[in-house]
Symmetry: C2
Amino acid sequence: MSVALVGAGPGDPELLTLRGLRLLQTAEVLVYDRLAGGGLLAAAPADALRIPRDELTQEEVNRLLIKHGRRRRVVRLKGGDPFVFGRGAEEALALARAGIPFEVVPGVSSLTSVPAAAGIPVTHRGAASAVTAFTAHDVEALDTAALARVPGTLVAFMGLAGLARLAERLVAAGKPASTPTAVISRGTTCHQRTVAAPLGAIAAAARGLETPALVVVGEVVAVGEAIATAGEAAA
Amino acid sequence: MSVALVGAGPGDPELLTLRGLRLLQTAEVLVYDRLAGGGLLAAAPADALRIPRDELTQEEVNRLLIKHGRRRRVVRLKGGDPFVFGRGAEEALALARAGIPFEVVPGVSSLTSVPAAAGIPVTHRGAASAVTAFTAHDVEALDTAALARVPGTLVAFMGLAGLARLAERLVAAGKPASTPTAVISRGTTCHQRTVAAPLGAIAAAARGLETPALVVVGEVVAVGEAIATAGEAAA
């Protein structure tokens, strides 16, 4: 039959797309990430086979999608967007090689929606006309010289564990220690928490926050604060 | 009452979020971008006031949102995601200053969904662990030295008109002329067209394509081609 690689969005089930919901409602097999599962599993038919992905390697997931995809309508529900730090292209490549028809259904990426949920735009006229997103699980491997120099907003996925070192390396590479920075923990869920501080002080300020978390570095953090302050002043 | 700044997604009405649809279905006033309007206007109540935004300046849009937002449920339907090159934060700031309650409903951004519709992931293990998006309507103003050096994928919005100069400046700044590049015109709609070529040859190859178009520069373009080729070989 076929496999749909569906982006579930950042956590809030209401941020699933209409196309994603329709596919979910007619799925025979559902392979889902823990992060993406949440309130969405109930939308699939009661008799659909539900397979959590957590314990599986990427290779095992690929094999599972190929096996079920030969005979049944499979939905692979992935957090955020399948093609943004989601390893969706690895699954697409495995399916293509096996001759299984598949489609990719984009989702609302954490890249933009998690900052938005904290009131922060990733671009803003006069503050940032570019945005660079990267994974920061291996801080030492990052080209921080290039990241410190690229104009606009920086958004780090998986940046909480190595935050002190990430901030230190960016500052050493020339990013001003005064750059407004925010860490958003468990964004778009009811457990969301946001901490903001200058880049040079963010690691201390963010102590105790839980993963998953997104780190946003740039003047847009101050824009978010200006929006919040204006709203409070007018209220 | 209130204003919802709703991301309509990249063009395909099926890529609206559930939250966006719900707000649209109970809107009293709808202020919409031409790009976002498409198949979505029919989802609003028949008696909702429909105001196209095209002829208005940003300042006029802000005033309109404030005026109607005082008394009615307003949906401001924006192409893509409101907070990604969408000037949504300017509208949020104007509403906050006027004391009008508002919410931001993220949408599927063109940044990821238009490449996905052309089979191209913006990140891929081994090919790109970062992605930088920027607007290229003013090519001479771009810091192409920084853009050429930042690792990972480049995604240029509004990059078609100045594509020859953009490619030239990136190559002059050190980006290899052989870097796989794609231009996706009218992505996610039934008029979608994609052209791929090395960065040094992309401007000639993309001649005649229509706006809106997204330019994707990086090894991920070759990953997309590998997926397509594998699928054809297995079919």
